[in-house]
Symmetry: C2
DNA sequence: CGTTTCATTGAGTGCGATCAAGCCGTGTGG
DNA sequence: CCACACGGCTTGATCGCACTCAATGAAACG
C-alpha cells in the first residue's frame, strides 16, 4: 500500500464526477494506492473512514466461519464505499485491480457536515444509493435463475462502465460469490449466452453485448 | 384504511421507543390503520412519505413481471419503513396483520431537518440500519442453506420481538419469499428443527426455542 | 518452455423445487 | 351441534437446476 498527499491531482480526480463530497475528499482526503487483491479494510475493523474510487475497482466481501464467501458489491471510478452504519465493518474491502482511492475520516466529514448541510445530505444520498443497490441484489439472489443472475450482472457492469466493449475487472470467482453461484455455473451461463449470440467474448475478461434486448429481457 | 389525527395517543405511541423522529412523527404525523394484507404503498408509487409501525407488523415486497415475489423485510413495533432513496418505491408495503402506523411527509421531515441537525442524523441512522439489514439479507440469500435460512429468520424474529414464546406474524408464504425458498421447503425445515428438539411449535404461528445454542449455530 | 493459475467442459450427485395428496383449524349453514 | 367447505400447512414422490468432482484447455509468468 502506498500513500501520498493528494494536492496536485485534486482537480483531475474530481473531474470524474463533480459533487460536494468529491470536492471535499479531494481537498482533505488522503490518496492511497492498493495492489490487486490487497485489503483496503477488514471485516470487524473499525469503520471510521470513508472511501472513493479514483482509479481501478473495488469489491466488498464477507466471509463466513467455514469459508463461504459473499461479495457485497463492486465499486468503480467515482463510487463511494465504506459507508457502513455500525462501529465496525461487516464486510471487508479489497482491490479488484491495482487501484487508487481517496480516504477521509468519517468524523472529519461529520464535523464538516455540521456547518454544511449539503454534506450531510450527500452522505445520506450515498447511503441511500447503497441501499437501493442492496435491494436489487436481494431480488437477484432470492428469485432469479443462474442465467438471469449472470445476465443482470453483465448489464449492470456494462451500464456503469459505459462503452461498447466492456472490461470485467473481476475474475469468475468474484462473479460467482456476488451471484450466489459457483464458478462452474457462471462459466456455463457465459458460454450459453455466447452460443445464443447474446454476448461475444474476446478473451475471458472482455465482452461485447450483441443482443441488448435479449440480455435485458433475461436480466428483467 | 382508516385515518385519524394522532393527538391523544401521541405519548403512548412514542413510549414504545423514545427518539427524536418518533416524537416528531407522533406530533406531526397522521395515524393510519390497515387491515391484514392491505397495501400501505405500492411498487412504483411516489416515495414521499415515511412510516413508523405503532402496532402490528408490516412486510415490504417486490413482484417480478412473471409473479415471482421477494419479501424485502419485516417491520415490527417502533420500526421505521418507507425510507427509499429514489423518487418511486421499488418495493410495496403491506400490512402483515391488522396494524397501525404513523405517517409523515418526507418533505416535511426534510424541511424540519434544516433547522434541527438531529433529525437529519436520525434519518441517516435509520437508512443505515436498513442497509445493515439488507447486507445481512444478501449473505443469507447468497450463501446459506435452506435450514440455515429458516434458523436465521427464527432467531431474528425472536430477538426483535423478545419474550420466551414467539408469535410469527407472517404465514409460510411470506417466510418463503423472504428466504428465497418455497413454502414446502420452509415447512420441512421447521419440522426438521422441531424433531431435532431445537424449537417447539404450539400451533402453526407460535414457537419456543428449546435449544438456543443449536439454533444460533445454524443461523451462524 | 515449463509451471502455475484461472477458465471451460463433462459426468454424476444432491438439494430444494414441483406436483400431488392428505391434514387440520376455522368458519358457515343446516 | 354437526356436516361440510375452504384456505393454509404438512408430508410424500419425483424432477431438475445448480453443485461437486474431475479432466482438459488456455493464458500469464518466471
Amino acid at each position: 500500500m502506498s500513500i501520498a498527499f493528494d494536492l496536485s491531482q485534486a482537480t483531475t480526480a474530481t473531474a470524474l464526477r463533480s459533487d460536494v463530497i468529491g470536492d471535499i475528499m479531494a481537498q482533505m482526503g488522503l490518496r492511497m494506492s492498493f495492489a490487486r487483491d490487497e485489503e483496503i479494510y477488514a471485516q470487524e475493523e473499525d469503520a471510521d473512514l470513508v472511501y472513493r474510487v479514483i482509479e481501478g475497482a473495488v469489491r466488498t466481501t464477507r466471509l463466513m466461519s467455514d469459508g463461504r464467501r459473499q461479495v457485497g458489491d463492486f465499486y468503480f471510478e467515482g463510487d463511494m464505499f465504506g459507508l457502513e452504519p455500525g462501529e465496525t465493518h461487516k464486510f471487508s474491502a479489497e482491490a479488484l485491480s491495482d487501484c487508487t482511492v481517496l480516504v477521509l475520516k468519517k468524523s472529519a466529514l461529520m464535523s464538516l457536515a455540521q456547518s454544511d448541510h449539503r454534506i450531510e445530505r450527500m452522505i445520506w444520498a450515498a447511503t441511500s444509493r447503497e441501499l437501493e443497490r442492496a435491494h436489487e441484489h436481494v431480488l437477484l439472489l432470492g428469485r432469479k435463475t443462474a442465467c438471469e443472475k449472470v445476465a443482470s450482472l453483465l448489464v449492470s457492469i456494462a451500464e456503469r462502465t459505459g462503452g461498447d466493449k466492456t472490461e470485467l475487472p473481476m475474475g469468475r470467482q468474484d462473479m460467482a460469490d456476488y451471484l450466489g453461484l459457483t464458478i462452474e455455473t457462471v462459466s456455463r451461463m457465459l458460454s450459453q449466452l455466447q452460443s445464443s449470440a447474446i454476448i461475444a467474448f474476446n478473451g475471458v475478461r472482455n465482452f461485447r453485448i450483441t443482443n441488448r434486448a435479449a440480455l435485458a429481457r433475461l436480466a428483467e
